[in-house]
């Protein structure tokens, strides 16, 4: 049951989006997150959404998959929408006791809901098309200038690599410990919330202890293989920028320019 969890949710493929240099993809995603906050009117927002849909089509991933990724944020969207709906002043459409719905309120709520959806869809497009290891690798290389101000970039990347490596191992182990405790008569399925949380303690303690043992053994194995931090370390897989990567960056620059232009051309909504 626990093995259904797939962290990072990577879907292998060979589309244009899969092949973009991970550093570029990571940077583009961050830029896009910022870019979503540029539009002040529907035209701008429409362009941002169109760009995202274009990228999604290029990824050749099933639409169902992309929409499924948006489901967990629905409560957040509903909540922000309700707040916006009731708290924005303007032309009153409907009024009851202290509640008022304004035309501007509806517009703001919709605008922000679409913004949030763009943010989530944009970042999930990154994780869907990039393997976690490449992503970590890209992060290490992109952040490497920060070493100058003593940010332990290599150590952070190594920690992420090891975490990704051990997630399936620890999930497997959790399953094993749960079975072992069930075999000894532990009841994990019944009772209220507190009772169930308490039932997890005999699972978590052995899991912690064995994790520390694993960590110690892994450290030994890494030292045996001459690991001594990021100093003087090379990488087998080198990243090279190709023409497609430059095209992607150019398109993003054009998008941002267009968003600013649209802001000046049309009246603002929010």
């Amino acid at each position: 049951m626990l093995s259904d969890i797939t962290i990072g949710q990577f879907f292998p493929g060979n589309s244009v989006l899969h092949r973009i240099d991970p550093r570029v993809k990571l940077a583009l995603t961050f830029i896009y997150i910022v870019a979503v906050f540029i539009p002040r009117n529907w035209w701008g927002l429409g362009l941002a959404v169109a760009a995202l849909i274009g990228a999604a089509l290029l990824s050749r991933l099933p639409a169902r998959l992309l929409l499924k990724g948006l489901k967990p944020v629905l409560p957040l969207i509903v909540l922000t929408s309700i707040i916006n709906l009731f708290y924005v002043d303007g032309t009153v459409l409907w009024h009851w006791w202290i509640f008022r719905i304004t035309w501007e309120g509806i517009a703001t709520a919709a605008f922000i809901a679409i913004r949030i959806l763009c943010l989530i869809a944009g970042t999930s497009l990154l994780t869907y098309t990039t393997s976690p290891t490449t992503l970590t690798d890209a992060l290490e290389r992109l952040l490497s200038p920060l070493r100058v101000i003593r940010v332990p970039v290599h150590e952070i990347a190594m920690m992420m690599t090891i975490a990704l490596r051990f997630i399936p191992t620890l999930i497997e182990e959790t399953d094993k410990i749960m079975s072992a405790q069930k075999a000894r008569g532990a009841d994990m399925e019944s009772g209220g919330l507190m009772q169930r949380v308490r039932a997890l303690i005999p699972v978590l303690i052995p899991l912690f202890i064995s994790s520390f043992r694993r960590a110690y053994e892994l450290a030994t194995a890494m030292e045996c293989r001459c690991y001594h931090g990021g100093e003087g370390r090379t990488r087998m897989k080198q990243l090279h920028m190709r023409s497609g990567d430059y095209v992607a960056l150019l398109l993003m620059a054009l998008l941002i320019a267009a968003l600013f232009v649209l802001n000046t051309q049309f009246p603002k909504v929010i």
């Binding site: 290891t133 053994e217 001594h228 087998m236 897989k237």
Partner: protein, 285 residues
């Protein structure tokens, strides 16, 4: 020049209670180049501790360990020693660092600062040598125990070692995984001339070695070819060790008064000896 030379090594772990038990007590031994040595001993006799001295993971408190004449206490040679003497540990899950097989194999040479193109060829060669080349882009956690252990061996091979120390590499594997690993180890020894030090609990594996060392209580107490060591069944029993099953069978039959040669090691030898005995029996009547 010997591959590994251990001279009168003393070692003990510092324990918090202040009392510290001596783990290695004056060990003298050598491992010659190209040799396959098996190290036996019951639990807690200090064999894993000794193994960690071979690649400077532990440093002797007395005496010296020399790897190709490099003293392990010399900090400057630390990484030369660790890339010369590679080490494979017992738990296959806890020694793979990366999610992808080939990236894990590349970990060692990456640490040594090898050129990317050279790492690529070394990784491919190492994976071919252990028969895992077809799995190079697979997820490491989805492999079987034997496959994981072979990837771990490839990870050591990619550092181009002259010697590989394996600390109970088959203890957590099923019989099939055990055979895969032992076949790989024997082939590396025979075909690539890599020196092997194998620590094991399985006597059938020790039989494959050129030389067997038996440890007890921090000392080397027996040394010789598998035939010499295993022919002394009673002495091994006293050291809480088993003997290979064919050896044991012949020993029991000998005690019953049946004349059989000493030091029978494999099933084939045992069958041969029994056949001769039976033929002799029929011939005599």
């Amino acid at each position: 020049m010997e591959m590994i030379e251990v001279r009168d090594v003393q070692f003990r772990y510092d324990e918090e209670e202040g009392s510290s038990a001596v783990v290695l007590d004056g060990i003298h031994m050598t491992v010659r180049k190209g040799e396959f040595v098996a190290l036996l001993g019951h639990n807690g006799c200090g064999k894993s501790t000794l193994a960690k001295h071979f690649n400077a993971m532990l440093l002797p408190l007395g005496g010296a360990v020399l790897v190709k004449d490099m003293n392990t206490t010399d900090e400057r040679h630390k990484y030369d020693i660790r890339s010369t003497v590679g080490m494979v540990l017992q738990n296959p899950d806890n020694q793979l660092v990366s999610t992808i097989v080939e990236e894990d194999v590349a970990f060692g040479p990456e640490n040594l600062g090898v050129e990317p193109a050279v790492i690529r060829t070394r990784v491919d060669e190492a994976l071919k040598a252990v028969g895992m080349y077809d799995y190079r882009d697979h997820a490491a956690h989805k492999l079987s125990g034997g496959q994981k252990q072979r990837v771990a061996i490839a990870g050591v091979l990619a550092m181009q070692p002259e010697c590989i120390v394996l600390d109970e590499p088959t203890a957590m594997l099923d019989p099939r995984g055990r055979r895969e690993v032992m076949d790989t180890v024997c082939r590396l020894n025979r075909e690539q001339g890599i020196t092997i030090v194998l620590i094991t609990h399985y006597m059938e594996e020790a039989v494959l070695a050129d030389r067997v060392l038996v440890m007890d209580d921090g000392k080397v107490v027996r040394e010789g070819t598998p035939r010499q060591v295993f022919s002394q069944v009673e002495q091994l029993r006293a050291l809480e060790l088993d003997v290979p099953q064919p050896t044991e069978l012949c020993h029991v039959l000998q005690q019953e008064g049946i004349t059989l040669p000493d030091g029978v090691l494999t099933i084939e030898e045992c069958a041969e000896a029994l056949l001769q005995q039976l033929e002799g029996y029929h011939g005599g009547h």
